[in-house]
Symmetry: C2
Subunit: 299 residues, 2 copies
Amino acid sequence: MRVVILGSAAGGGLPQWNCRCPICTLARSEPDRVQPRTQSSIAVSADGSDWLLINASPDIRQQLFENRTMHPRERLRHSPIRAVLLTNGDVDHVAGLLTLREGQPYTLYSTRGILDSVNANRVFDVMAEGVVAREAIGMDAPFEPLPGLSVTLFPVPGKVPLWLEDETMEIGAETETTVGALIEAGGRRLAYIPGCARVTDGLRARIAGVDALLFDGTVLHDDDMIRAGVGTKTGWRMGHVPMRGENGSIDALAATEIGRRIFVHINNTNPVLIEGSPERGDVEAAGWTVAHDGLSLSL
Amino acid sequence: MRVVILGSAAGGGLPQWNCRCPICTLARSEPDRVQPRTQSSIAVSADGSDWLLINASPDIRQQLFENRTMHPRERLRHSPIRAVLLTNGDVDHVAGLLTLREGQPYTLYSTRGILDSVNANRVFDVMAEGVVAREAIGMDAPFEPLPGLSVTLFPVPGKVPLWLEDETMEIGAETETTVGALIEAGGRRLAYIPGCARVTDGLRARIAGVDALLFDGTVLHDDDMIRAGVGTKTGWRMGHVPMRGENGSIDALAATEIGRRIFVHINNTNPVLIEGSPERGDVEAAGWTVAHDGLSLSL
């Protein structure tokens, strides 16, 4: 199995368009200290030729341009991306669908609930009927978006997208609005969970023994945004478990058997983004890699 | 008045994600021969400090990152972009609204019809109520989105966006679905018309005497897409007048008094994109500039 992390940042990317926090400022002025990162997306392939895109970020055009593997190879119109999967309906995961148009056929997979949210917005009709199929996938039901690649979706603690929030919203519920994906090819297993509000026993049991885990690295501490002075929301309020602190993912997953542990979906306020920072050193010492754009794995 | 062309390509950009036409291939392999271009957007300022963004392309995050003038300058959160205007509802002009979130206040201006199209899609609620105001502007009614900058919208021959097309669609009608903008500051005048199906007497009269015209350069000939083998649609069918051929814009505007003539919104199939090509030479000899990303004007 081959995996390419097309975008390793959370919503807004790094730098975020309107942010002057120290980390965004470094990303503009000293890319050796803070490498700029695009928004959350990976591509997975069983054969290195046809790829499943998981999550379509607003930066998808730039991501496909900068990764040669993703360039069209045949005829006048072509894409190595043959299927697309959404793990939630957040803008950083669905806005890129507006770019994946131009008459290019593929199948869009997600849960019924996430697809319904997308379908309710007519702007996504640029993925034309008869060209892009939209297929709902149930929980715990393995399917093959591409030959030799098996995917199983499962609910993880999360919340509805920001643009669907209302007073009835519940944080941390395990519903079809936020899912993880277990991906298998050639006997190797990858778990991809870019959004997760809490590490549960059920989650640990599901991912035990995977060859690699790509996990929600939005915040280091629950109050990252508040510490940075850029907002009032906690990680929990945004549906993201912190790396460290009470119930932090690093400790919560420490005893689980996992091949490579990699943080993705990293928010611009997370100090692990600074090369050589104590916080980066801490998570690396705990056995985790902080993803950067273009990081690829062969499992 | 200062003007920055943030993105000079039409929808899909250059290269387009799934296109292997000779021009897209050159944009990937020989950027000296075909310079890559992002999708259609400009920024205009009266004072060089606060900017009006006209059209929000899917590439907006990359565009704001690559243009230092557009970086935040004050406090922790800030943007020089203080107002946004849409000239139609095409995906290449509205998708970027999904990036202009993160609690940043500005006013979004457009016609009632275009705003209604946007508002009907709940995904755009990421521009939060109470943070981003949405203001409908009538035709031929000058308004000041920023102090010292006056804008007048006027209808141009066009069509509804692709994602709103149905059997009742009319091409070439002058309605509020496709508009041009006349922008004045300090006694200088700019006309911005990135989409236009036909040059009419009325259009010529409106723009006569402007210091600069940024005009629809989607196709060179009406059948560019067919010649390139990538599609069956004519320029007319897409709502875009060709540069050359019957009713071509170069001839149709030749006798109109215009300071600088610049083509924007250039489709990846248009051979004027090739540096040194006979087609580029032809339009330049006719007094036109083919825009590239980052081209800026001081009027």
